[in-house]
């Protein structure tokens, strides 16, 4: 996964008042699980998925898994 993922915009978790950081998460769908790195709150783990990721790569993976 993209090692260069950085919180360039200074996104902050409102609840914990801390900057989001790249964190390893697990993605599950249609009986498959795979790891990914997303920006997330280091304290409460709240993740952030930007629009282009959701409507781009994630949609692609969804379709691949659905078609399996």
């Amino acid at each position: 996964m993209k090692e260069e993922l950085k919180n360039e915009d200074g996104l902050t978790c409102v609840k914990c008042h801390v900057l989001l950081e790249p964190r390893k998460v697990h993605i599950t769908y249609m009986k498959s699980t795979f790891p990914a790195v997303l920006l997330a709150c280091p304290r409460c783990q709240e993740v952030y998925v930007p629009e282009d990721l959701a409507m781009g790569k994630m949609l692609e993976v969804e379709k691949t898994l659905e078609d399996k």
Partner: protein, 786 residues
């Protein structure tokens, strides 16, 4: 899927059956393929197709009695194709490849062939190729038998010799000038060989085989005789008036198969149907085939030139069925035909391999049933798709997300937001129950108000009102338990209400209730209007009068509905121009089977196909047809638009609103509130949910994005409500926006918004189906990455 069921479905499709010419040809020359090559000027290729089945091409192309001509589908449309003449051109102008002899495995079995006519020579050749030792006895000095009787103009001796030349280089032994019975006793033949083929007259064969003056009895399927190991066939066994060189070849082939099986001691009869000439099941529609007379050869005696043969071959209709495929965008889109689709779907569902295309396919059928109407054997691909879909859902192999939106829409309609049953105000029972359906309520709620008012003033005995969704989305999504549960809830209410007559305004609800309950408890509102009279009588201005009716596909088995709708339109002063596909042969708008959710592009193609059928404006009586057609630019009207207006008093050709999914939900909520308030003088009993207090604003462009992405206003409200009450949100310092998410079901919704004084402004709305887990699991796949 059960093997017997699959087989029964497959058997109904005749597309892979051969055309009439091929099946009537006793050796099954692939005439269609030959003609296709000839049409393209591929004479050598055509000749190769011919030679596959014909061992003696020069002879047969000269003297074939062409039984194919009798059954050629072109016969009534200008005259049968001149098949033999084209074959003759091939053998005259093409390079005839010398027959290649392929011996699979040599055996010690010895076979005697008595009589070197076409049947004897064909049998000898095939038995030799099977590896047996073959000896041919011929009483004359030359091989060929009866074909030597043709005039030299018709069949020059040179052609016969050229065709037989290759036999010399085989290991078949010929004993010429040897008459069995005279020169050599039959007993010695019987003793010396494992099997014998008699290619001579039955009387002659009888004498040879039994020594008595009697005809030999021949089993027509296997060509075996009463004498074990002795087989008989060929032209001499038939009436001379029926002399058929091609049948002799076929009989030689059949005898060879029987003899090979006999010496190998296997069943003579197993799997031999369709060996000789038979009647094909293939259906070919020639309604649109134009008359076209045969091409006359310029050189009358010399047959066709290559160009003339190609021109004659162009008259070949290329027989095929494809009746269902021709009229169905779905069946066209997978490039094949039902027999193959059934096999593929069944195989894939049963072994759960390669289900990718199958899932896509079964989700792309609208269940309109047009295939069944078109098919000469009434094969309904919708039944196959529905069965497969249900099994895939039961096996957890169908992604729920595909149909999540319409299922949730259904559940919304059956929740407190919309669902309602009331007896008519002031009544304690109902003779009738009006069930307008969820889509009219969503898209044209005013018609529900007007229709209910009409019904309560025109029908005595009480008209109850039931708002809800009939469960069709669950049925179409293959969610059988959910569908049954939805129906049960409806049925219970209906039974408690005393089983009133259900009056429907949606043909899908109509079909669902009729199938679930009984024929006699459901009636369309269109019939009621016919019986009780229309509320307005005015007719439209002249230039608006001509229209076409698009019948709802779910009403295809409802001739009374078709009649009622037409009656209404005629009494309203319209002139109806019927569409090519109407009534029981109507097409679906693309909503059926939830195709528009699983295969949006195909659904749009279906709409384009349907609205392109006529330039006339369409009248529909299904709200979804109206929605889909007008979305793609067709001027069309729901019949309610005409019923509830005095057409002479106003320009009824008003706007056609495209409503977002959120607006449709809103409309259902408001309709229930309005009905309760205005009809029952009752305030809505539902307590608003917390998230409904969130006031949201968005641009028209954002509204369109939400609609395209199937994100509802209530989804947005829920996300923001959750974020604002829990503080689970992310802050963007560069623009003061917040991003928050919520996963109320199987979809995660994301909203980027900013906070205004009294509302929230939405900047982005998106969703995904993947589930994000913060906990890292051990056995992870590394195949996918983001």
């Amino acid at each position: 899927m059960k093997r017997t069921e699959i087989r029964a479905y497959e058997d109904r499709c005749t597309q892979s059956d051969p055309p009439a010419c091929e099946s009537r040809c006793p050796v099954h020359v692939d005439v269609k393929q030959m003609m296709l090559h000839m049409q393209k000027g591929e004479l050598e290729e055509a000749l190769r197709v011919y030679q596959k089945k014909i061992p003696f091409p020069r002879i047969i192309s000269s003297v074939c009695d062409q039984p194919c001509q009798d059954v050629c589908m072109r016969k009534e449309m200008g005259g049968s194709l001149q098949i033999r003449e084209i074959e003759k051109t091939c053998t005259t102008l093409g390079i005839i490849a010398t027959k290649k002899i392929r011996i699979f495995k040599k055996t010690d079995h010895r076979v005697a062939v008595i009589g070197a006519g076409l049947s004897g020579l064909t049998a000898a050749l095939l038995l030799y190729e099977k590896g047996h030792v073959v000896h041919v006895y011929e009483k004359k000095a030359e091989i060929g038998g009866q074909i030597r009787g043709f005039s030299s103009e018709r069949l020059p001796k040179q052609l016969i010799d050229e065709d037989f030349d290759f036999l010399k280089s085989t290991g078949i032994q010929f004993f010429m000038g040897c008459e069995i019975g005279r020169d050599k006793p039959f007993d010695t033949i019987i003793d010396a060989y494992d099997a014998v083929f008699l290619g001579m007259g039955t009387m002659q064969a009888g004498m040879v085989a039994t020594g008595k003056t009697q005809s030999l009895e021949i089993d027509l399927q296997t060509l075996s005789t009463e004498v074990s190991g002795v087989f008989a066939g060929g032209s001499m066994t038939r009436n001379q008036a029926d002399y058929s060189p091609i049948t002799s070849i076929a009989e030689g082939r059949s005898a060879a198969i029987s003899i090979d099986r006999f010496v190998k001691k296997v069943s003579l009869t197993e799997g031999r149907h369709h060996e000789g000439a038979y009647k094909t099941r293939l259906y070919t529609n020639i309604q649109s085939v134009e008359h076209w007379a045969p091409v006359p050869p310029v050189d009358e005696g010399g047959g066709y030139s290559a160009d003339e043969a190609a021109a004659e071959a162009a008259r070949c209709i290329q027989c095929e069925c494809m009746e269902c495929v021709k009229s169905c965008k779905f069946l066209q889109s997978y490039g094949s035909y039902p027999k193959k689709y059934v096999r593929e779907i069944a195989n894939n569902v049963n072994i759960m391999m390669g289900i990718r295309q199958t899932k896509h396919m079964v989700n792309s059928c609208t269940y309109c049933g047009l295939c069944e109407e078109r098919c000469p054997n009434a094969l309904n691909m919708g039944e196959v798709c529905a069965t497969a879909k249900e099994e895939l859902v039961a096996k957890n192999a169908m992604p729920e997300a595909i149909h999540d939106f319409p299922i949730r829409d259904m559940q919304f309609s059956n929740s407190d937001y919309f669902q309602l049953f009331r007896h008519q105000p002031g009544m304690k029972s109902s003779q009738y129950m009006f069930y307008p359906g969820c889509q009219i309520a969503a898209l044209a709620p005013e018609h529900v108000m007007k229709a209910y008012e009409y019904l309560t003033t025109h029908l005595a005995g009480g008209v109850g009102l039931y708002l809800g969704c009939c469960g069709a989305p669950a049925a179409w999504a293959g969610r059988d338990p959910l569908f049954k549960n939805t129906l049960e809830i409806f049925t219970k209410t209906w039974e408690e209400a005393g089983k009133p007559l259900i009056i429907t305004a949606c043909s899908t609800c109509h079909k669902i209730f009729k199938e679930a309950l009984s024929d006699h408890v459901v009636q369309s509102i269109w019939e009621i209007y016919c019986q009780r009279g229309l509320p307005f009588q005015g007719t439209p201005a002249g230039h608006h009068r001509k229209i076409s009716i698009h019948d709802a596909c779910t009403a295809k088995n409802e001739p009374r509905v078709h009649q009622a709708v037409r009656h209404i339109l005629i009494s309203k002063g319209f002139e109806i121009q019927e569409l090519p596909f109407s009534g029981e042969k109507s097409k679906c708008c693309g909503y059926g089977g939830l195709v528009s959710f699983a295969n949006r592009q195909l659904a749009q193609e279906m709409v384009a196909d349907r609205i392109g059928e006529s330039q006339q404006d369409y009248i529909v009586y299904c709200q979804m047809c109206h929605d889909y057609f007008s979305k793609q630019g067709k001027t069309c009207w729901h019949i309610f638009d005409l019923i509830h207006r005095d057409l002479s008093q106003e320009d009824w050709r008003g706007e056609s609103n495209q409503l977002t999914f959120s607006q449709r939900h809103e409309n259902r909520i408001k309709l229930k509130q309005r009905l309760l308030k205005e009809v029952w003088r009752d305030d809505m009993d539902r307590q608003p949910e917390d998230h409904e207090s969130i006031v949201v604003r968005f641009s028209p462009k954002m509204e369109q994005v939400m609609n395209d992405r199937l994100i509802l206003l209530s989804d947005i409200q829920q996300v923001i409500y959750h974020a604002e009450t829990t503080n689970n949100k992310i802050y963007h310092p560069n623009n003061n926006h917040y991003t928050a998410k919520l996963r109320p079901g199987i979809i995660t919704y994301w909203v980027e918004y900013s906070i205004e004084e009294t509302s929230f402004l939405v900047h982005k709305a998106y969703s995904h189906r993947l589930e994000i887990n913060r906990q890292v699991k051990e056995n992870e796949h590394r195949k996918y990455s983001l």
